[in-house]
Structure formats: C-alpha cells, structure tokens
Amino acid sequence: MNNTLTFGQQSFMNSSVATKQTAEQHVTPEMQAQEQVWAMAAQKGDSAAFMNIVDAYQRPVYNLCYRMLGDTTEAEDAAQETFLRAYTKLKTYNADRKLSSWLLSIASHYCIDRLRKKRYQMVSWDELPPWQAVADKKPQPEEAALTHERHDTVHQLLDTLPEDYRAATVLRYWYEMSYDEIAETLETSVSAIKSRLFRARQMLAEAVETQ
C-alpha cells in the first residue's frame, strides 16, 4: 500500500520551487519606488512619465492578456486597451496599492469583459480599428522557442475554463499571487477565489482526461 503513495510534500514542494520565475519577477524594490514617482508625475499630467510606466509594465500586462485570450493579436490589443484605461482612470489610482497589481486588475477585468462579449457576439464589424493592421499574427520569437505541443495543450486547457476561473488560474500560476492578492485583483472574496481555483483544477483535470 505504502509504495502507491507517490504524492506528498516532497514532490509538491519541488514543483512549487520551479515557479520562482514569474511574470512579476523583475519588479524590484527600486522599481517600486520609481513607479510611485512616475505614477505621481503621470497623475499631474506628465505623459512621458506614463510612457515609462507602459514601458516597464508592458510585459506582465501583455502576458496576462495573452494567457487570458490565447492569441497574440488580441493580447496586443487588450494590453494596449489596458494602458488606455489606466491612463483615463489615473486619477483614481491610490499610491497605497502596487502599480503592477492595479494594472493587472484593469487587464483582468478588461479580458474577462472581452471574453464575455465575444461569447455573445455574432458579427465583428467593429473589430477592425486602423491600428489592428499594424500587429501581425506572427508568433513571438519566445513563443516559437517553446515546445509547441505543450504550449498549445495548456492554452487549449485554459480555453475550457470560464473567464473568471481562467483569470484566477493565470494570476495564481503566472503571477504567483496568494488568494488574498487574487481576490483583491479580481475584486471578489477569498472564498470565491478558493472555490474558483478548486473548480478550475477539477475542470482542467477532466479536460486532460478527455484530451
């Protein structure tokens, strides 16, 4: 009986350590001090300061959009829209909050809305603004370097989840957020996040089996 117990803290801890490279990894304390300076300047109308913010956070924001939407063109558009929204509601930004978490919150809500709208949408005659022609459908160099099967598997799996569950899962795995942080980002309760992640895992496990 004992030799069937392949689970345990040991194996689990090992796999957990492997996540240390997360989407937020490059946010150092100096950067956090710097971001507050930029945020304050941008709030006072300094648009160059806002461009610094865009530059510094394009990657975590883009990655979130990409994991949510599963498509590079849509991710580019969603990331751009996230920063536009941030720009328009800059006055509501409260310096007590990490800028990254504020931006990720905007991005999550935007992507959730977008996925919901997509579900109800029949025609997409509004989906072709002039700038969309700029972004090509070509894969990212980094994405191309990934083993394709594995990468596609995970995206297909994520695709089976409802938007809210997907957001919780992405924030948990790519951003290593705790339940508290995810709840704050998605503006919901910790117990809701707990059950979303649980349900997400159940659904993903079922999806793996049918794959």
């Binding site: 689970f7 689990f12 989407a23 328009t88 980094e142 899962t169 649980f198």
Partner: protein
C-alpha cells in the same frame, strides 16, 4: 469526481494555503481515501502542466510603447463627437417614433369610428405619462389607460407593423450604443 470535505483542501494545498497541521491531516486522509488520492493525482498533473507553462512569460513585439503612443493620440484626436451624434440621433429617432405612434394611434381611433374625444383621451394619456407618476393613483391610471389602449391597438395590423419596426429600431440603437461604448475615448482627458 466524488467530493468529500477534503477534496477542496487538496486544491488549497497546491496553493500553499494550508498550515502544517492541515497538511498533516490531509496527508493522513489521502493515505486512506482512494477517491481523494485520485483527485490529488489528476490535480497534480494539471498543476505540473501549469507550472511548466508559467515558466514562460510572453512579451509583446518590439515597439509596444510607440504603438501605445499612437493609439493614445488617435483616441484623443477622435474624441467623443460620435457619442453625441449617436445620442442626438437616438433622441431624434425616439421623438419621431413617439410622434408617429401617437399620430397613428389617434388616426386609428378616429377611423375606427370613435369621435375626436377618443383622440383627446389618447392625447391626455400621453400628457399624463409626461407629467407623470408622482402618486400611485396616477400610476394606476396610466396602467389602466395603457391597458385599454393596448387592447384596442392590438386589433390593428398597422400597429403590429409599428411594434415590429420599433423593436428592430430599439435593437439597432442598443447595438450602436454598445459598439460606441466599447471605445472608451469619451473620458480621455487631453493632458499633453
């Protein structure tokens, strides 16, 4: 998948949200419950897949900031005029619809053999709606009036045509508004 009170704990364990006592308790339970062990194993598989995928952070194409700057400039150049045009069109459309509705209703009443008094009643009804609803009595009166007019109007084919047209028109307006609201340009302030 069968669940017991430990099933959800398995998920929390993966998220490092259990204290050592809870972990020990869960491990003891897993040793004896094959259902939970199966759940654990399938979730472990998913967990590993996700951890593998999460090691890679996707990055946008070069020039993201420049593209953002041009989009911002585009949004600021195309400020909310189109919202106001749409709202204006909506208002005019609604007024036209109401006028057509009231006029045809009145005409139908008169044509159906009623006197000018009937059209008058309709007119007064519309006025009541506009002055409306300070008291419940007014509200009940409006309902009664609408009910009576409704009963009569339903028998008129022209009214059916109007109803269908108005439903389509409303849908179209909602759709236009929805499309416009997707572009949050309206609240962008020019700070440049």
């Amino acid at each position: 998948m069968m669940n017991d009170k430990y099933t959800e704990k398995i998920s929390e364990w993966f998220d490092n949200e259990l204290n050592p006592d809870e972990v020990a308790e869960l491990q003891a339970h897993l040793a004896g419950c094959s259902t939970c062990r199966q759940t654990y194993e399938s979730m472990q598989h998913v967990h590993t897949l996700l951890l593998g995928a999460a090691a890679h952070v996707a990055a946008p194409d070069q020039g993201f900031v420049q593209r953002f700057e041009s989009r911002l400039a585009w949004r600021q150049a195309h400020k909310p005029w189109h919202i106001w045009v749409a709202l204006g069109a909506l208002l005019v459309g609604t007024l036209l619809f109401w006028s057509a509705w009231a006029i045809s209703g009145g005409l139908l009443l008169v044509n159906a053999g009623g006197s000018a008094l009937d059209a008058n009643v309709l007119y007064q009804g519309v006025m009541i709606i506009f002055e409306s609803a300070a008291s419940l009595r007014t509200f009940v009166n409006i309902c009664l009036l609408l009910w009576k007019t409704g009963l009569f109007l339903i028998s008129q084919p022209l009214i059916w045509l109007l109803i269908i047209t108005s439903v389509c028109a409303t849908w179209l307006w909602l759709r236009i508004l929805q499309l416009l609201s997707r572009r949050p340009a309206k609240s962008i302030e020019l700070t440049l």
